[in-house]
Amino acid sequence: MLQTMLLKSIEQGLVFGIMALGVYITFKILNFADLSVDGSFPLGAAVAASLIVGGHSPFTATLAAILAGALAGYATGILNTSGKISDLLAGILTMTSLYSINLRIMGRPNIPLLNQPTVFSIIQDAAKKIFPGFPVQYMYLILFIIVVLAIKVLLDAFLKTQLGFSLRATGDNPQMIRSQGVDTDMTKRIGLSLSNALISLSGALVAQYQGFADVGMGIGTIIAGLASVIIGDALLGEKSIFIATLGVLFGSFLYRFSISLVLSFRLAQASDLKLFTALVVILALTAPRFKKSLTTLKISRE
């Protein structure tokens, strides 16, 4: 049982890890509290599922989901940079609008994909033809590892380009990077588009992995993403970009694993999960402060 649980947690950790990498771009790199996530994640699922059901290739559908996510991120960027709306509110506005937009795209609250072709079913069929002994039970694992590692490597590389440097400096010290001639409005919009494109891709893959898209599947995504980023930061730190993004993926796995532990030992019902997630994030966020006040207490006693 533990082995199945571990396998599922790694699979989920990887596929939701793409979303967590998106959250990492906004929260850590850009220092932008982007709440569009809860809308752009189901947006990816909605676009992909609708197009697949409409007879399009799952690959086209997934690509369309990526573009839709980039557009959503760009919208948040425009609200923030041109509209001068604070980052939190800009994200909330996009998220709220997307709820209606996602319903429009799907035409109904839920689209099942069980008997539809998906990127996974197509690859599985192809793999079976080429290697008759293909271990089908590990298909998701192998695919996710390839896709997620490719994304991680590309993201790491991007953050080492001139544009990547500008994005990092925008989150770190906007005054400085403006005085070096970079338009921080532009770098913010690029970062938000990239982030939400990844989040939407994650949504599209999750929908095809679990076999349905649901308009409510985005609730709490941002907290899950944050939990992954924070856990990763706490465990591996940010010595380099390579370590930091690896930490995010590892954090995503640990988060999914702890949830399945809680569920399998019946410590909580499925409906308690959001509360549990929130508690994990609160704990991770307050732990350093708690530790500090403990130290101060010790010092003052001495």
Binding site: Q162, Q175, V182
Partner: protein, 264 residues
């Protein structure tokens, strides 16, 4: 040549915090000028630099650089020809990025940023050479994060970043004020060396009268948004701190006990 023509600026207009800093300030800066700017708190020294750099739009007047009107140009575009060092050592660098990454940002200042690698062997070699000109040992610490550096090291780094690509204009806003005397001296020496070698037109705000007299070829004293003293050449080299304070009181027709403390 930089020309400020009749500029005005009021912060928070129409509120109880309304603060008129400039009301028709004009200033002509010649090529190769190294101007030191002194004045009491609230005289508008930093606001002057910020107006030139385009941190905020001005309410009235025009700013020309080499004859072209830059009044409406946003800050990031003016960065193509303006280098800046701030008072706060935290402001000039990106703390969680490494020394070489910061230098790379300055190296491609105001160029079209692309998806090319931010760093390569050639750049690293060049940066190392730049850093070896200052006796801080930074040339061997290229991949150290800037947040681990001291204030003086950061200011020296910021200065190098601001002048790496020779700017038309260098703006220094009390860039040694928060450093210990020894480091301040080092950074000041470096400042003079770079400005002299490259012949950069510079405006330097300072609270230190000694520096203001010793450095540069022209000295400006500001008070309440106006230029109350503008001396150069022999007049500047012959001035002393007591005479400068005297002049200040005389020009204002008031006693500035507080400023005496501030400036001395």
């Amino acid at each position: 040549m930089l020309l400020l023509e009749n500029i005005s600026k009021t912060f928070n207009p129409g509120t109880p915090n309304e603060n008129q800093v400039f009301n028709g300030l004009s200033l002509k800066v010649d090529d190769g000028d190294f101007i030191t700017v002194i004045g009491s708190n609230g005289a508008g020294k930093s606001t002057l630099l910020n107006a030139i750099a385009g941190v905020f739009p001005i309410d009235g007047g025009k700013i020309y650089l080499d004859g072209s009107d830059i009044t409406g140009l946003p800050e990031y575009k003016r960065a193509a020809f303006i280098g800046r060092v701030f008072q706060d050592p935290m402001l000039g660098t990106s703390p969680s990025m490494t020394i070489e990454e910061n230098l790379s940002l300055a190296f491609s200042r105001a160029e079209n940023i692309s998806l090319r690698w931010g760093l390569n062997a050639e750049k690293r070699k060049l940066f190392s050479k730049y850093l070896s000109t200052i006796p801080l040992g930074l040339e061997n610490r290229l991949s150290t994060k800037v947040k681990l550096l001291s204030g003086g090291q950061r200011q020296a780094l910021t200065l190098i970043m601001a002048t790496m690509k020779k700017p038309r204009l260098l703006l220094l806003d009390e860039h040694t004020a928060s450093l210990d005397p020894k480091t301040a001296m080092l950074v000041n020496e470096l400042t003079e060396e770079i400005i002299e070698k490259e012949g950069i037109t510079t405006i330097m705000v300072t609270h230190n009268l000694e520096h203001a007299i010793k450095m540069g070829n022209r000295l400006i004293m500001m008070h309440k948004g106006r230029i109350v003293l503008d001396i150069r050449g022999e007049e500047k080299t012959s001035i002393t701190i007591p005479r400068l304070l005297n002049k200040f009181e005389q020009l204002q027709g008031e006693k500035f006990a507080e400023d005496r403390v501030m400036l001395a």
